[in-house]
């Protein structure tokens, strides 16, 4: 091992301290979500609830008229958004890597260029464009403009550049046309790359805050991220409900992270190789 000389104990002290710093806010939120309001605002440094209760969760799921709806909205938008992204990005990546058509290289350069454009410049014109299209304050306002992602088009192109051509040729010999080859042979073989982009696209939709804030106005169409904020004004900062609602909003991502850890790590490696 190259760094045998490092005092091991020091390394582990750093690692564990940083892990505690990372975990503390989460731990605090989870445990606070089981505390009654009075216990949370009473302060003190004790993490563990003295009078553990499920009342906060009960409240947000049964008494709050909109909270369950926001969960459904977030799930719907993130799921549909992910499905269309995976299909469109993969098709575009395949086309850029494998099919020759006039202007292809220019299009690829254009995609690389627009990847560098900061999102802020698009917000106002997109608001006006969606206003003219009449899709403001609908789920479409969140799904349609985000239905492709240039970074993942690029990722899929890089994947298909190195994809063995023999596979497609064999499929064509078997009488499959280009579209059948893509859907039945190529797409399934790209499973790992598809899963990697799916995980991160889902995460992006699930955690998005700015776009729902701009494009959604009806409370019943809020996503969870936006709904969390209205908890603050609705209930004059009822920290107990906010903590329970935050925990609920984090849980699906944690489950996804545990189940699909392999793809998360793969995506991180790709991000890291930039």
């Amino acid at each position: 091992m190259k760094k045998r000389k490092w005092p091991r104990v020091l390394l582990y002290v750093i690692l564990v301290s940083y892990a505690l710093i990372t975990l503390y806010p989460f731990l605090w939120a989870v445990l606070a979500s089981f505390k009654p309001y009075s216990e949370i605002v009473a302060g003190g440094l004790t993490l563990w609830p003295e009078n553990p209760t499920l009342a906060n969760y009960q409240h947000i799921f049964t008494n709050d008229p909109l909270f369950p709806r926001w969960i459904m909205n977030s799930f719907f938008i993130a799921t549909v958004g992910t499905i269309v992204n995976v299909i469109f990005n993969t098709m575009a990546g395949y086309s850029l890597a494998r099919l020759r058509f006039p202007g292809r290289n220019y299009l690829f350069l254009l995609i690389l260029a627009v990847m560098m454009v900061p999102g802020q410049i698009l917000l106002i014109p997109n608001y006006l464009i969606m206003r003219s299209l009449g899709i403001l304050d609908t789920y479409a306002a969140l799904i349609v403009p985000g239905a492709i992602n240039f970074a993942y088009i690029f990722l899929m192109r890089q994947f298909f550049i190195n994809f063995p051509r023999e596979v497609e040729e064999a499929a064509q010999v078997d009488g499959l046309n280009r579209f059948q080859t893509f859907w039945r042979i190529v797409f399934p073989m790209a499973k790992a790359s598809v899963a990697t982009q799916a995980v991160f696209v889902f995460l992006g939709f699930w955690n998005e805050f700015l776009k729902p804030l701009l494009y959604i106005t009806s409370p019943e169409k809020y996503t969870l991220t936006l709904g969390l904020q209205s908890f603050q004004s609705q209930n004059a900062t009822q920290w107990n409900y906010i903590m329970a609602a935050s925990v609920v909003s984090i849980i699906p991502i944690i489950i996804l992270y545990i189940l699909l850890n392999k793809y998360f790590m793969q995506g991180l490696r790709i991000g890291g190789d930039k």
Binding site: K2, K3, K5, W6, R8, L11, L15, A19, T22, P25, F26, W28, G43, G44, L45, I87, F88, N89, M91, S95, L96, L99, R100, F101, N105, F108, L112, V114, V117, P118, Q120, L123, I124, P125, N126, Y127, L128, I129, R131, S132, V144, P145, A147, R165, R178, L203, F209, L214, Q229, W239, M243, S246, S249, I250, I253, Y257, L268, G271, G272, K274
Partner: protein, 321 residues
Amino acid sequence: MGTQLEINRRTDAAAQAPSPKNGKGSERNRREALQGVTFMLPTLILLFTFTLLPIFYSLFLSFTRVNLFGGIDFQWVGFTNYVNAWNDDRVWAALNNTFRYALFVVPIQTAVALLMAAVLNSGIRFQNTFRTIYFLPTLTSSSALTMIFMFLFSLNGPINNLLVNIGLLEAPVNFINETDFALATIMVMNIWSTVPFFMTIYLAGLQDIPHSLYEAASLDGANAWQKLMKITVPNLTPVTNYVLLMGIIGCFQLFDQAYIISGGTGGPNNATLTFSLIIYQYAFQTIGTMGYASALAIILTLIIFTVSMIARRLNKEESNY
């Protein structure tokens, strides 16, 4: 970018090779072109409607006064919006906040990310467990995290309790509503939540440094610190440049946390007013200033491009050595 294009040309050549054998080459080519465009169609439509068109639309808007009453009404005002931006104290306040924020956040998050990546990469056990834990903040929405931090830093929150208990503070401080502390709270929170992402980038970079360098240094009797400063840091320069660039751009784009903590106002006393927040306010909170907000968005884009260009130039100069 050069290598990517080369790859493209190579596959083009490879793809062309079998076609002459095929007799009906041109008909096949035409069919392939049609298929290529068909596969690209959703991307082409969305790229045009929601990216290319908006870029030019934004540029146009920045020279107009926009009135939204049922329909849209544009009034050409030339460079007025840009001149107004120059004379707008709130714009300068936002720029000032962004620079203060960047000067504090970027160096710390970069140093911590590098240190943690080096520790993780030093052959310790449970590397994956630690990585999995460290990555949690990156997965969590800014919305939930900001709410959690707002309580941690509130008057009754654990941070105040801790600081009072150990005697650093005499009385609890209302971090979020005090001009002197509001931005600092966002800084602490963002360092905490962005370090894991940059740590991951550093980890990838660390794995590319040849082992032989460290072995040679060991033979020369270098200690761990010397190895870190003389081998690891210099070899990671391109990665560091990238991390710094992304960090600076992130500072200019900071929105969610500032919006949530201040309830959209950028207060107290403009203390949490960021450049992205001011664009939002002029575009969607005040009436008749959408064109002005577009001008600010163009200015933000130009600033980000300039920073990127300088970073790229510096990178090139360094690789010449």
